[in-house]
Symmetry: C2
Subunit: 211 residues, 2 copies
Protein backbone atom coordinates (compact mmCIF):
# COMPACT_ATOMS: atom_id res chain seq x y z
CA UNK A 1 0.00 0.00 0.00
CA UNK A 2 1.14 3.57 -0.68
CA UNK A 3 2.31 5.43 2.42
CA UNK A 4 2.23 9.23 2.76
CA UNK A 5 4.34 11.08 5.31
CA UNK A 6 2.26 14.18 5.89
CA UNK A 7 1.25 16.96 8.26
CA UNK A 8 -2.38 17.91 8.75
CA UNK A 9 -1.68 21.67 8.55
CA UNK A 10 0.34 21.46 5.33
CA UNK A 11 -1.02 22.53 1.96
CA UNK A 12 1.89 20.69 0.36
CA UNK A 13 0.64 17.53 2.08
CA UNK A 14 -2.94 18.31 1.04
CA UNK A 15 -1.93 18.21 -2.64
CA UNK A 16 -1.32 14.41 -2.74
CA UNK A 17 -4.22 13.81 -0.31
CA UNK A 18 -6.59 15.59 -2.71
CA UNK A 19 -5.27 13.79 -5.79
CA UNK A 20 -5.35 10.37 -4.05
CA UNK A 21 -9.01 11.05 -3.14
CA UNK A 22 -9.82 11.93 -6.78
CA UNK A 23 -8.05 8.79 -7.96
CA UNK A 24 -9.88 6.59 -5.41
CA UNK A 25 -6.59 5.25 -4.03
CA UNK A 26 -6.22 3.77 -0.54
CA UNK A 27 -3.08 4.80 1.37
CA UNK A 28 -1.59 4.91 4.84
CA UNK A 29 -1.19 8.42 6.25
CA UNK A 30 1.64 9.04 8.73
CA UNK A 31 1.35 12.30 10.65
CA UNK A 32 4.72 14.04 11.13
CA UNK A 33 4.88 16.95 13.59
CA UNK A 34 6.81 19.68 11.74
CA UNK A 35 6.63 22.05 14.70
CA UNK A 36 8.37 19.49 16.95
CA UNK A 37 11.19 18.95 14.42
CA UNK A 38 10.11 15.44 13.46
CA UNK A 39 11.20 16.06 9.84
CA UNK A 40 14.81 16.60 10.97
CA UNK A 41 15.41 13.36 12.91
CA UNK A 42 18.00 10.88 11.55
CA UNK A 43 15.15 8.44 10.89
CA UNK A 44 13.18 10.96 8.82
CA UNK A 45 16.29 12.11 6.93
CA UNK A 46 16.65 8.53 5.70
CA UNK A 47 13.24 9.00 4.04
CA UNK A 48 13.92 12.51 2.74
CA UNK A 49 17.44 13.94 3.22
CA UNK A 50 15.94 17.40 2.56
CA UNK A 51 13.89 17.07 5.77
CA UNK A 52 10.44 17.98 4.47
CA UNK A 53 7.00 16.45 4.11
CA UNK A 54 5.19 15.25 2.05
CA UNK A 55 6.99 12.06 1.07
CA UNK A 56 5.26 9.27 -0.84
CA UNK A 57 6.63 5.79 -0.15
CA UNK A 58 5.87 3.20 -2.82
CA UNK A 59 5.14 -0.47 -2.19
CA UNK A 60 8.82 -1.34 -2.82
CA UNK A 61 10.07 1.29 -0.34
CA UNK A 62 11.08 3.90 -2.91
CA UNK A 63 10.60 7.43 -1.55
CA UNK A 64 9.42 10.38 -3.68
CA UNK A 65 9.70 13.84 -2.11
CA UNK A 66 8.48 17.27 -3.31
CA UNK A 67 4.70 17.64 -3.41
CA UNK A 68 4.52 18.54 -7.10
CA UNK A 69 6.75 15.63 -8.17
CA UNK A 70 4.45 13.32 -6.17
CA UNK A 71 1.45 14.81 -8.01
CA UNK A 72 3.13 14.20 -11.37
CA UNK A 73 4.01 10.61 -10.48
CA UNK A 74 0.49 9.76 -9.28
CA UNK A 75 -1.20 11.54 -12.20
CA UNK A 76 0.65 9.84 -15.06
CA UNK A 77 -1.82 8.04 -17.33
CA UNK A 78 -4.80 9.61 -15.56
CA UNK A 79 -6.98 12.57 -16.60
CA UNK A 80 -5.12 14.80 -14.11
CA UNK A 81 -1.98 14.95 -16.31
CA UNK A 82 -2.74 16.38 -19.76
CA UNK A 83 -1.92 13.98 -22.59
CA UNK A 84 -0.97 16.88 -24.86
CA UNK A 85 2.73 17.76 -24.72
CA UNK A 86 2.23 21.52 -24.61
CA UNK A 87 -0.51 21.33 -21.95
CA UNK A 88 1.78 19.07 -19.90
CA UNK A 89 4.58 21.66 -20.11
CA UNK A 90 2.22 24.49 -19.18
CA UNK A 91 0.96 22.44 -16.20
CA UNK A 92 4.55 22.14 -15.05
CA UNK A 93 5.11 25.86 -15.71
CA UNK A 94 2.32 26.66 -13.25
CA UNK A 95 3.60 24.07 -10.75
CA UNK A 96 7.09 25.63 -10.78
CA UNK A 97 5.42 29.07 -10.49
CA UNK A 98 3.59 27.70 -7.44
CA UNK A 99 6.77 26.52 -5.74
CA UNK A 100 8.87 29.58 -6.61
CA UNK A 101 6.54 32.60 -6.63
CA UNK A 102 3.41 31.52 -4.70
CA UNK A 103 4.15 29.03 -1.89
CA UNK A 104 7.26 30.82 -0.49
CA UNK A 105 5.09 33.91 0.02
CA UNK A 106 1.52 32.74 0.68
CA UNK A 107 2.22 29.50 2.55
CA UNK A 108 5.11 31.00 4.50
CA UNK A 109 3.05 34.06 5.56
CA UNK A 110 0.24 31.71 6.64
CA UNK A 111 2.68 29.53 8.59
CA UNK A 112 4.24 32.50 10.37
CA UNK A 113 0.88 34.05 11.25
CA UNK A 114 -1.01 30.87 12.20
CA UNK A 115 1.45 28.30 13.48
CA UNK A 116 4.54 29.84 15.08
CA UNK A 117 5.65 32.66 17.33
CA UNK A 118 7.25 34.97 14.73
CA UNK A 119 10.95 35.80 15.16
CA UNK A 120 12.18 39.35 14.59
CA UNK A 121 13.65 38.31 11.23
CA UNK A 122 10.33 36.81 10.16
CA UNK A 123 8.41 39.89 11.28
CA UNK A 124 10.81 42.06 9.23
CA UNK A 125 10.13 39.94 6.11
CA UNK A 126 6.35 39.58 6.47
CA UNK A 127 5.42 42.64 4.40
CA UNK A 128 7.70 41.52 1.54
CA UNK A 129 6.13 38.04 1.68
CA UNK A 130 2.66 39.56 1.50
CA UNK A 131 3.65 41.81 -1.41
CA UNK A 132 5.05 38.76 -3.24
CA UNK A 133 1.90 36.78 -2.50
CA UNK A 134 -0.34 39.57 -3.84
CA UNK A 135 1.75 39.64 -7.04
CA UNK A 136 1.33 35.85 -7.44
CA UNK A 137 -2.43 36.12 -6.94
CA UNK A 138 -2.54 38.91 -9.56
CA UNK A 139 -0.75 36.64 -12.05
CA UNK A 140 -3.34 33.91 -11.34
CA UNK A 141 -6.23 36.40 -11.68
CA UNK A 142 -4.88 37.54 -15.07
CA UNK A 143 -4.61 33.95 -16.33
CA UNK A 144 -8.08 32.99 -15.07
CA UNK A 145 -9.60 36.01 -16.81
CA UNK A 146 -9.05 34.11 -20.06
CA UNK A 147 -9.00 30.41 -19.05
CA UNK A 148 -10.98 28.12 -16.76
CA UNK A 149 -8.02 25.99 -15.61
CA UNK A 150 -4.24 26.23 -15.31
CA UNK A 151 -2.98 23.20 -17.18
CA UNK A 152 -5.32 22.77 -20.13
CA UNK A 153 -9.07 22.48 -20.73
CA UNK A 154 -9.87 20.47 -17.58
CA UNK A 155 -8.73 20.35 -13.97
CA UNK A 156 -5.16 19.02 -13.74
CA UNK A 157 -2.40 18.66 -11.19
CA UNK A 158 -1.52 22.32 -11.84
CA UNK A 159 -4.90 23.30 -10.39
CA UNK A 160 -4.43 20.98 -7.40
CA UNK A 161 -0.95 22.45 -6.76
CA UNK A 162 -2.25 26.04 -6.85
CA UNK A 163 -5.51 25.32 -5.00
CA UNK A 164 -3.76 23.95 -1.90
CA UNK A 165 -2.54 27.27 -0.50
CA UNK A 166 -4.74 29.68 -2.50
CA UNK A 167 -7.93 28.48 -0.80
CA UNK A 168 -6.41 29.27 2.63
CA UNK A 169 -4.61 32.46 1.55
CA UNK A 170 -6.84 34.48 3.92
CA UNK A 171 -5.02 32.72 6.80
CA UNK A 172 -1.83 34.42 5.54
CA UNK A 173 -3.47 37.84 5.54
CA UNK A 174 -4.43 37.88 1.84
CA UNK A 175 -7.73 39.41 0.74
CA UNK A 176 -9.18 37.53 -2.24
CA UNK A 177 -12.22 39.79 -2.54
CA UNK A 178 -10.67 41.65 -5.48
CA UNK A 179 -9.82 38.40 -7.31
CA UNK A 180 -13.22 37.35 -8.78
CA UNK A 181 -11.71 34.98 -11.34
CA UNK A 182 -9.64 33.24 -8.64
CA UNK A 183 -12.75 32.89 -6.46
CA UNK A 184 -14.75 31.38 -9.33
CA UNK A 185 -11.91 28.92 -10.03
CA UNK A 186 -11.74 27.91 -6.34
CA UNK A 187 -15.45 27.10 -6.63
CA UNK A 188 -14.90 25.01 -9.78
CA UNK A 189 -12.18 22.97 -8.02
CA UNK A 190 -14.47 22.38 -5.02
CA UNK A 191 -17.38 21.26 -7.22
CA UNK A 192 -15.41 18.41 -8.79
CA UNK A 193 -16.75 14.98 -7.81
CA UNK A 194 -14.33 13.39 -5.33
CA UNK A 195 -13.17 16.69 -3.79
CA UNK A 196 -12.11 16.44 -0.13
CA UNK A 197 -11.42 19.33 2.24
CA UNK A 198 -7.94 20.15 3.56
CA UNK A 199 -8.47 18.78 7.05
CA UNK A 200 -7.38 15.16 6.75
CA UNK A 201 -8.54 11.98 8.37
CA UNK A 202 -6.49 10.98 11.44
CA UNK A 203 -3.27 9.08 10.85
CA UNK A 204 -3.85 5.55 9.62
CA UNK A 205 -5.41 3.89 6.58
CA UNK A 206 -7.31 6.36 4.37
CA UNK A 207 -9.98 4.73 2.20
CA UNK A 208 -11.47 6.64 -0.72
CA UNK A 209 -15.00 7.98 -0.12
CA UNK A 210 -16.42 5.82 -2.91
CA UNK A 211 -14.80 2.60 -1.64
Amino acid sequence: MLRLYDNHLSGNGYKPRLLLAHLGRTYERIEVDILKGETRTPQFLEINPNGRIPVLVLEDGTCIAESNAILFFLAEETRFLPSDRLARALSLQWMFFEQYSHEPCIAVARHWIQHVEMTGAQRAQLEAKQEGGRAALAVMERHLGAAAWFGGDAMSIADIALYAYTHVADEGGFDLSDCPAVNAWLGRVEEQPGHVPMNPAPAGIVEPANA
Copy 2:
Protein backbone atom coordinates in the same frame (compact mmCIF):
# COMPACT_ATOMS: atom_id res chain seq x y z
CA MET B 1 12.48 29.03 -35.15
CA LEU B 2 12.46 28.75 -31.34
CA ARG B 3 13.07 32.06 -29.55
CA LEU B 4 14.55 32.31 -26.04
CA TYR B 5 14.13 35.42 -23.89
CA ASP B 6 17.21 35.22 -21.71
CA ASN B 7 19.81 37.08 -19.69
CA HIS B 8 23.50 36.30 -20.03
CA LEU B 9 24.10 36.33 -16.24
CA SER B 10 21.22 33.99 -15.44
CA GLY B 11 21.68 30.34 -14.50
CA ASN B 12 17.97 29.85 -15.12
CA GLY B 13 18.57 31.07 -18.68
CA TYR B 14 21.64 28.85 -18.99
CA LYS B 15 19.54 25.73 -18.37
CA PRO B 16 17.68 25.89 -21.72
CA ARG B 17 20.82 27.19 -23.48
CA LEU B 18 22.73 24.11 -22.32
CA LEU B 19 19.96 21.67 -23.25
CA LEU B 20 19.43 23.31 -26.68
CA ALA B 21 23.18 22.91 -27.31
CA HIS B 22 23.04 19.21 -26.37
CA LEU B 23 20.02 18.73 -28.62
CA GLY B 24 21.71 20.54 -31.53
CA ARG B 25 18.78 22.96 -31.90
CA THR B 26 19.08 26.38 -33.55
CA TYR B 27 17.28 29.24 -31.77
CA GLU B 28 17.11 33.00 -31.56
CA ARG B 29 18.42 34.44 -28.28
CA ILE B 30 16.91 37.72 -27.06
CA GLU B 31 18.92 39.40 -24.29
CA VAL B 32 16.69 40.99 -21.62
CA ASP B 33 18.33 43.33 -19.10
CA ILE B 34 16.95 42.21 -15.72
CA LEU B 35 18.88 44.92 -13.86
CA LYS B 36 17.20 47.65 -15.97
CA GLY B 37 13.71 46.24 -15.27
CA GLU B 38 13.15 44.98 -18.81
CA THR B 39 11.23 41.95 -17.49
CA ARG B 40 8.59 44.24 -15.94
CA THR B 41 7.60 46.30 -19.00
CA PRO B 42 4.02 45.92 -20.34
CA GLN B 43 5.50 44.36 -23.49
CA PHE B 44 7.42 41.72 -21.53
CA LEU B 45 4.45 40.99 -19.24
CA GLU B 46 2.51 39.98 -22.37
CA ILE B 47 5.16 37.26 -22.85
CA ASN B 48 5.33 36.24 -19.17
CA PRO B 49 2.87 37.87 -16.75
CA ASN B 50 5.15 36.72 -13.91
CA GLY B 51 7.90 39.05 -15.24
CA ARG B 52 10.84 36.64 -15.35
CA ILE B 53 13.23 35.14 -17.85
CA PRO B 54 13.75 32.61 -19.36
CA VAL B 55 10.76 32.31 -21.66
CA LEU B 56 10.73 29.95 -24.64
CA VAL B 57 8.54 31.10 -27.53
CA LEU B 58 7.47 28.34 -29.92
CA GLU B 59 7.07 28.73 -33.69
CA ASP B 60 3.32 29.40 -33.25
CA GLY B 61 3.91 32.13 -30.65
CA THR B 62 3.07 30.03 -27.57
CA CYS B 63 5.14 31.11 -24.56
CA ILE B 64 6.50 28.69 -21.93
CA ALA B 65 7.94 30.23 -18.76
CA GLU B 66 9.81 28.65 -15.81
CA SER B 67 13.24 27.27 -16.68
CA ASN B 68 12.52 23.74 -15.49
CA ALA B 69 9.20 23.52 -17.38
CA ILE B 70 11.10 24.63 -20.51
CA LEU B 71 13.66 21.86 -19.88
CA PHE B 72 10.89 19.28 -19.54
CA PHE B 73 9.18 20.46 -22.75
CA LEU B 74 12.39 20.38 -24.80
CA ALA B 75 13.53 17.04 -23.35
CA GLU B 76 10.39 15.00 -24.04
CA GLU B 77 11.23 12.04 -26.29
CA THR B 78 14.97 12.67 -25.96
CA ARG B 79 17.56 10.96 -23.76
CA PHE B 80 17.49 13.90 -21.33
CA LEU B 81 14.05 12.90 -19.96
CA PRO B 82 14.10 9.39 -18.47
CA SER B 83 11.65 7.02 -20.18
CA ASP B 84 11.07 5.19 -16.88
CA ARG B 85 8.12 6.58 -14.88
CA LEU B 86 9.90 6.47 -11.52
CA ALA B 87 13.11 8.04 -12.87
CA ARG B 88 10.98 10.77 -14.47
CA ALA B 89 9.31 11.49 -11.10
CA LEU B 90 12.67 11.55 -9.32
CA SER B 91 14.04 13.93 -11.97
CA LEU B 92 11.14 16.25 -11.23
CA GLN B 93 11.71 15.79 -7.48
CA TRP B 94 15.24 17.16 -7.90
CA MET B 95 14.04 19.95 -10.19
CA PHE B 96 11.48 21.09 -7.58
CA PHE B 97 14.21 20.78 -4.93
CA GLU B 98 16.34 23.03 -7.13
CA GLN B 99 13.67 25.72 -7.41
CA TYR B 100 12.59 25.59 -3.74
CA SER B 101 15.66 24.75 -1.66
CA HIS B 102 18.68 25.53 -3.89
CA GLU B 103 18.10 28.43 -6.30
CA PRO B 104 16.41 30.78 -3.77
CA CYS B 105 19.54 30.49 -1.61
CA ILE B 106 22.51 29.92 -3.94
CA ALA B 107 21.39 31.94 -6.96
CA VAL B 108 19.99 34.74 -4.83
CA ALA B 109 23.18 35.03 -2.73
CA ARG B 110 25.23 35.11 -5.98
CA HIS B 111 22.95 37.78 -7.44
CA TRP B 112 23.15 39.96 -4.35
CA ILE B 113 26.94 39.63 -4.06
CA GLN B 114 27.82 39.91 -7.76
CA HIS B 115 25.18 41.98 -9.53
CA VAL B 116 23.49 44.51 -7.25
CA GLU B 117 24.20 46.98 -4.46
CA MET B 118 22.74 45.06 -1.50
CA THR B 119 19.90 46.72 0.43
CA GLY B 120 19.84 46.56 4.22
CA ALA B 121 17.10 43.93 4.09
CA GLN B 122 19.18 41.79 1.71
CA ARG B 123 22.28 42.18 3.86
CA ALA B 124 20.24 41.03 6.89
CA GLN B 125 19.11 37.89 5.03
CA LEU B 126 22.43 36.95 3.42
CA GLU B 127 23.64 34.67 6.23
CA ALA B 128 20.32 32.76 6.22
CA LYS B 129 20.57 32.39 2.43
CA GLN B 130 24.09 31.02 2.76
CA GLU B 131 23.04 28.61 5.50
CA GLY B 132 20.17 27.39 3.28
CA GLY B 133 22.53 27.01 0.33
CA ARG B 134 25.01 24.98 2.37
CA ALA B 135 22.17 22.69 3.46
CA ALA B 136 21.10 22.20 -0.18
CA LEU B 137 24.69 21.38 -1.21
CA ALA B 138 24.89 18.86 1.66
CA VAL B 139 21.73 17.14 0.36
CA MET B 140 23.32 16.95 -3.09
CA GLU B 141 26.61 15.62 -1.66
CA ARG B 142 24.71 12.89 0.22
CA HIS B 143 22.84 11.82 -2.95
CA LEU B 144 25.99 11.84 -5.09
CA GLY B 145 27.80 9.67 -2.56
CA ALA B 146 25.62 6.81 -3.82
CA ALA B 147 24.64 7.81 -7.39
CA ALA B 148 26.35 9.30 -10.44
CA TRP B 149 23.39 11.42 -11.60
CA PHE B 150 20.23 12.98 -10.18
CA GLY B 151 17.48 11.67 -12.43
CA GLY B 152 18.46 8.11 -13.29
CA ASP B 153 21.45 6.28 -14.69
CA ALA B 154 22.49 8.98 -17.17
CA MET B 155 22.62 12.77 -17.31
CA SER B 156 19.08 14.19 -17.43
CA ILE B 157 17.34 17.54 -17.15
CA ALA B 158 17.60 17.19 -13.36
CA ASP B 159 21.40 17.40 -13.69
CA ILE B 160 21.15 20.39 -16.04
CA ALA B 161 18.79 22.16 -13.61
CA LEU B 162 21.13 21.61 -10.65
CA TYR B 163 24.36 22.23 -12.57
CA ALA B 164 23.35 25.76 -13.63
CA TYR B 165 23.85 27.47 -10.26
CA THR B 166 25.97 24.82 -8.50
CA HIS B 167 28.93 25.34 -10.83
CA VAL B 168 28.96 29.08 -9.98
CA ALA B 169 28.11 28.66 -6.27
CA ASP B 170 31.52 30.11 -5.36
CA GLU B 171 30.26 33.45 -6.73
CA GLY B 172 27.62 33.35 -3.97
CA GLY B 173 30.23 32.74 -1.29
CA PHE B 174 29.91 28.94 -1.16
CA ASP B 175 32.98 26.78 -0.66
CA LEU B 176 32.65 23.49 -2.57
CA SER B 177 36.01 22.15 -1.39
CA ASP B 178 34.31 19.90 1.18
CA CYS B 179 31.88 18.50 -1.41
CA PRO B 180 34.03 15.98 -3.33
CA ALA B 181 31.08 14.11 -4.80
CA VAL B 182 29.53 17.36 -6.06
CA ASN B 183 32.86 18.35 -7.62
CA ALA B 184 33.19 14.98 -9.36
CA TRP B 185 29.62 15.31 -10.70
CA LEU B 186 30.33 18.85 -12.00
CA GLY B 187 33.23 17.32 -13.92
CA ARG B 188 31.01 14.57 -15.37
CA VAL B 189 28.49 17.16 -16.61
CA GLU B 190 31.27 19.22 -18.24
CA GLU B 191 32.76 16.15 -19.97
CA GLN B 192 29.53 15.37 -21.84
CA PRO B 193 29.85 15.88 -25.62
CA GLY B 194 27.98 19.05 -26.58
CA HIS B 195 28.58 20.86 -23.29
CA VAL B 196 28.73 24.66 -23.58
CA PRO B 197 29.88 27.10 -20.89
CA MET B 198 27.50 29.51 -19.15
CA ASN B 199 28.64 32.64 -20.98
CA PRO B 200 26.35 32.75 -24.00
CA ALA B 201 26.79 33.92 -27.54
CA PRO B 202 25.64 37.52 -28.15
CA ALA B 203 21.95 38.06 -28.84
CA GLY B 204 20.88 36.72 -32.22
CA ILE B 205 20.70 33.36 -33.95
CA VAL B 206 22.50 30.62 -32.01
CA GLU B 207 23.63 27.69 -34.15
CA PRO B 208 24.65 24.41 -32.52
CA ALA B 209 28.40 23.79 -32.47
CA ASN B 210 28.03 20.70 -34.66
CA ALA B 211 25.91 22.48 -37.32
